[in-house]
Symmetry: C2
Subunit: 228 residues, 2 copies
């Protein structure tokens, strides 16, 4: 056993949300592997990430590039941040590398063009689809769906809580630690079935953003921050 921080792969790590998470976790000292469909595209993202970290004065960050399949295989914890249209195919491509690991599913089932309308899949949620597809050897935990990528990408603190859903409490605890490493509050919010609530809320927040010309988030009230 070691105290070394785990290595996190970010599958689809070149998108907005993946970029934001990579910056937060790299800055917090985690080993980050940015995955993309090709290693070349991932390498570009790593170069950009190093430049941002240097601007922020972070001298020793541990970041690598890999194709998605290698990234998932080499990491201790895997975060999936791909558009819903690629969710299932990406999971199938990386599943051999996931056994025994935690998969953090950040996917929201948005069906363009009506992204401000809740359109949950028949399975209930993207998180549930992942858990069904991967089976019990992978602990799927959904998180970060309500967080604006723009806020994650900059280095500042911002006002949004993260509801963390998954069937394993221990896996949720591990993800809550990663939420906190990203500078946010994370809360146990139930089994993977409850990912439906958080994923659906993203569409409602997109509606609210359009209606009120804002970047809305949510805060839990009436509950003490974990550890506070």
């Amino acid at each position: 056993m070691t105290d070394k921080l785990p290595t996190i792969a970010i599958i689809g790590g070149t998108g907005d949300l993946g970029t934001g998470l990579a910056r937060r976790w790299a800055q917090a000292g985690y080993n980050v592997i940015i995955g993309s469909r090709t290693a070349d595209k991932a390498a570009e993202a790593v170069t950009a990430l190093r430049a941002v970290m240097a601007e922020r004065g972070c001298k020793s960050v541990s970041v690598q590039a890999a194709d998605n399949v290698s990234a998932a295989r080499e990491a201790d914890i895997v975060a999936l941040t791909v558009p819903f249209a690629h969710h299932r195919a990406t999971l199938e491509s990386i599943r051999d590398g996931l056994s025994g690991k935690i998969l953090i599913d950040v996917t929201v089932p948005l069906l363009p063009p009506k992204v401000a309308r809740v359109q949950l899949p028949p399975e209930g949620s993207a998180g549930q689809i992942a858990q069904n597809l991967l089976g019990e050897s992978v602990r799927v935990v959904s998180a970060f769906q309500n967080v604006a990528a723009e806020h994650l990408k900059d280095g500042h603190s911002f006002d949004c809580d993260v509801l963390v859903c998954g069937d394993s409490k221990e896996a949720r605890e591990a993800v809550i630690a990663l939420v906190e490493a990203a500078g946010l509050r994370g809360f146990h919010a139930g089994s993977i079935a409850n990912a439906a609530a958080v994923e659906a809320l993203t569409s409602a927040l997109i509606f609210i953003n359009k209606q009120y010309q804002c970047h809305a988030g949510i805060r839990l009230t009436g509950v003490a921050a974990p550890g506070a």
Copy 2:
């Protein structure tokens, strides 16, 4: 046309949430009809409501009792606060009185005993079931699903926002006015399809309440309060 405040019927108005809404709206000066399956049970609730209002020093409240069917027929706006198990049957019993009106659906599709687990119906949400069943002559607006009844019942302000979903923007506006009359902030959160997000969130909040021994609510962040 008149400036008189509308008459609101609360169907299932003897339950916790119905009691809370009745207190808030009666205190704000609305005419409230408490509906129940029998007029006798409604009359008991009205007696209790008058006593609470007297304790709070509210001298002239306008509250009446009726069976659910009469209550719906006589009101301008109808709020439905029944357990999900009675949702469809209650709607069928009152539908003749709803034509041309706004129905505020407060129902959450909780399926005991697993009330902390999201279990949305195949139609997507209770609000969508109501809109499908009632047709276009009734404007269904979902609201108040995340509000703790205990907080509504006491007279104090508390920290929870209300996401308001419905296909008619004008109807949502009318309900937001009622949310504000109850002392809360209300926000346009999309079409009735988006009721799924808010209903599902209730199960997640129930989980959070158990996990953290609290009465959790939500606040929107990053968006100015309407009218502020």
